[in-house]
């Protein structure tokens, strides 16, 4: 019997996931010893500590040289480690913001945090998967955990509807992804991405339909997970019906992990095919997603739903960065900000590294801004208004600046960041994405992106206008304070503003993280 030679280096990329699964197991097992009235304050703290430890493990692994692990089923590269770090940031902030949310509803349970940790572990594993079956299994780990979290609180009709819709459509999209993977396996005879590249060009010549169908089905499966138009129908209902901290985790973590898998699959397989196919595919998706996401968000008066459409629009901007990855020759004449500071490699490699950097920074920026905004939404909503549908109405933000100036300033920072207005992290990240698009020659897509984000400023600023320029409505309830929500807001606001003015500290990380395995 020939045993594979597994060493400690094989387990290095798994450490963040192992830490999170261990934390989840502690939460699940300790729940056994608690009565219904025991204090459960330690659970969120334990979750945050676990997330921080996992994020630290991911950062340590980021400076290891990229290599295959587990016989090519996974990879350790700075790209996946950085994405794991982003997921851990989102998890920590979402867990902090769920403390008072759950306490107000009397629903504090270890299972909630355990499922959050399981979902994050699945995201981390998805980012490092380099084989289609592994990728599918890890995608299901994160999906099933989020399905259960979506229907965690089933009071009223909305959460049940959200959970059911998410489950059915999610299962359908997973099946589409699996079908595409099966077709690609049939065409190439392997499920390891690295081994598929070689036979792919031959298969493309022999059976072009099979390969195209496989790639398009895999792309459609991912497009569902990142909520790209026209696969976005589930997003508003699910985001609205899910518990707000879960929505925060979904918008930040699930999106980051799905983008990681999408980039890895198409970048690796793209070496074996004409790059125009993914370029056209992602350009069309990006165009539709940016325009439709922003236009649909404009009429929303429900802030939670507005943020759901905004998350669709942000997936569109990210897809611009993905499309920029597949450009064959960068348009040198359009250098927006002078020559890139990256050195070494051909112009195509440089443009690619820049686009990857843009995607990664954008994911980090969106995590801080969106999780912060959802934390704010959960601080203002009240359970009693959910059935009436007014829990998330714009009116609730009226006069917030007079009642809680700190909250209003934090929310204003998140809104400006999501809208892409300086001096916030959202502006820097949009700049990087559109810069890489222009440098890659996708000028038209960049112009559409800038115009549609200008349209988006309207609905972000409307929230700010309500907070600062409207009077406090009659009979407004006093807002309860909670240390955990305020800590979330302080941390997110600090990150949004400080990294928006001085992105210096993480540029070194981003430089490193744009190294993806096999490029």
């Amino acid at each position: 019997m020939n045993l594979p030679n597994l060493t400690l280096a094989d387990f290095l990329p798994l450490f963040p996931a192992i830490i999170m699964v261990a934390g989840a197991s502690v939460l699940l097992l300790s729940e056994v010893f608690l009565s219904a009235t025991s204090s459960r304050a330690y659970q969120a703290v334990l979750t945050v500590v676990t997330a921080v430890a996992a994020g630290f493990a991911a950062l340590t692994a980021m400076f290891e040289p990229a290599h295959e692990v587990f016989l090519g089923f996974g990879v350790l590269d700075p790209f996946s480690s950085f994405l794991t770090f982003v997921v851990c940031v989102g998890l920590a902030l979402a867990a902090l913001s769920s403390v008072s949310f759950l306490r107000k509803r009397g629903a504090e349970r270890g299972e909630f945090y355990a499922l959050m940790l399981f979902a994050a572990a699945g995201m981390s594993l998805l980012a490092m998967s380099n084989e289609l079956i592994t990728l599918f299994v890890n995608l299901e780990v994160l999906s099933i955990a989020t399905y259960a979290l979506t229907s965690y609180l089933r009071r009223g009709t909305r959460p049940s509807e959200a959970g059911f819709k998410y489950f059915i459509l999610g299962a359908f999209s997973s099946a589409v992804l699996l079908y595409g993977s099966a077709l690609l396996y049939g065409a190439t005879g392997s499920t390891k991405l690295t081994d598929m590249v070689g036979p792919l060009s031959g298969a493309l010549a022999a059976q072009p339909l099979l390969v195209y169908a496989g790639l398009i089905l895999v792309g459609a499966g991912f497009a569902f997970k990142v909520a790209a138009v026209p696969f976005h129908m589930w997003t508003p209902d699910v985001y609205e019906g899910a518990p707000t901290p879960v929505t925060a985790l979904m918008s930040a973590g699930v999106k980051a992990a799905a983008f990681a898998a999408l980039v890895r699959v198409f970048l690796t397989l793209g070496k074996g095919i004409d790059p125009h196919l993914p370029l056209v595919l992602f350009s069309v998706l990006a165009f539709l997603t940016m325009v439709a996401g922003n236009l649909l968000a404009i009429p929303q008066r429900n802030v939670k739903r507005m943020l759901a459409y905004s998350s669709i629009a942000h997936a569109g901007y990210l897809l611009v960065g993905v499309a920029a990855l597949f450009v064959t020759g960068p348009g040198e004449q359009f250098r927006l900000l002078g020559p890139s500071e990256l050195t070494g490699g051909t112009p195509v490699d440089l443009a690619r590294a820049q686009a990857l950097r843009g995607i990664l920074f954008y994911l980090l920026a969106y995590t801080f801004s969106a999780v912060g905004a959802f934390a704010m939404v959960s601080a203002l909503e009240r359970r009693e208004d959910e059935e009436k549908g007014t829990a998330w109405d714009l009116e609730r933000f009226s006069g917030l600046a007079q009642r809680r100036p700190g909250y209003a300033v934090a929310m204003a920072a998140f809104m400006l960041s999501l809208g892409g207005i300086p001096p916030t992290i959202g502006f820097m990240s949009k700049l990087l994405i559109f810069q890489s698009a222009v440098d890659s020659g996708l000028v038209g897509l960049a112009i559409v992106g800038v115009l549609s984000s200008a349209a988006g400023v309207y609905y972000y600023l409307r929230v700010v206008v309500y907070m600062f320029m409207r009077p406090v409505p009659e009979g407004a309830q006093t807002l309860e304070r909670s240390w955990s929500t305020e800590l979330t807001l302080v941390l997110s606001t600090a990150a949004v503003v400080v990294l928006g003015i001085l992105p210096g500290p993480i540029t070194a990380w981003l430089q490193q993280a744009s190294r993806i395995f096999g490029l």
């Binding site: 019997m1 016989l71 909630f112 890890n138 399905y147 089933r154």
Partner: protein, 169 residues
């Protein structure tokens, strides 16, 4: 005519017969029992294909565990005999025509497939092919990572199912 062919014919015929019974039986219990026998005969076909492990799993998982679940649900729902067939409506006729058309297309596609001889195996390969030992060896060496990921998936699904099934949180 060798014994393999006779066994194949017997199993195939019995599979088709019991599968037909699943559809045509009036009482849901009879349908479910016919499904159990379909699974058993399918397992026989798997053995003829040298897939012993799949055959054992078929009996253990499908005929054993899953069918018990089916029967439980049928008994809990307390279903009676299905009502009489009724008049053919447009939807039924259209469904029947579509199914027949699909079968014709499927048959044409299958008849166009080249008939291939089974790949030749060396003696050592033939001895281990499809056995539990070789399957286990593949899973626990080469496919270790996805296999462990599946165990995480099952744990998550179990916790998730318990959380969703709780009447009130």
């Amino acid at each position: 005519m060798n014994i393999e062919l006779i066994l194949f014919g017997a199993f195939a015929l019995l599979t088709l017969l019991s599968a037909g019974l699943v559809i045509f039986a009036r009482s849901p219990i009879n349908s479910a029992m016919a499904l159990v026998s379909t699974f058993f005969f399918l397992a026989g076909l798997y053995v003829l294909l040298w897939a012993h492990t799949v055959a054992v799993l078929q009996v253990l998982v499908y005929a054993g565990a899953i069918m018990v679940l089916f029967l439980f649900v049928i008994m809990l729902l307390n279903l009676g005999e299905s009502p009489t067939r009724g008049r053919p409506t447009l939807a039924r006729v259209a469904g029947g025509v579509a199914t027949l058309g699909f079968l014709v297309v499927l048959g044409l596609a299958l008849s166009k497939l080249p008939v291939m001889a089974p790949p030749a195996m060396s003696g050592a390969e033939a001895a281990t092919f499809g056995t539990m030992a070789s399957l286990g060896q593949t899973i626990f060496t080469q496919w270790l990572f996805p296999f462990e990921a599946v165990s995480l998936l099952l744990l998550v699904a179990m916790v998730g199912a318990v959380v969703v099934a709780k009447s009130r949180i």
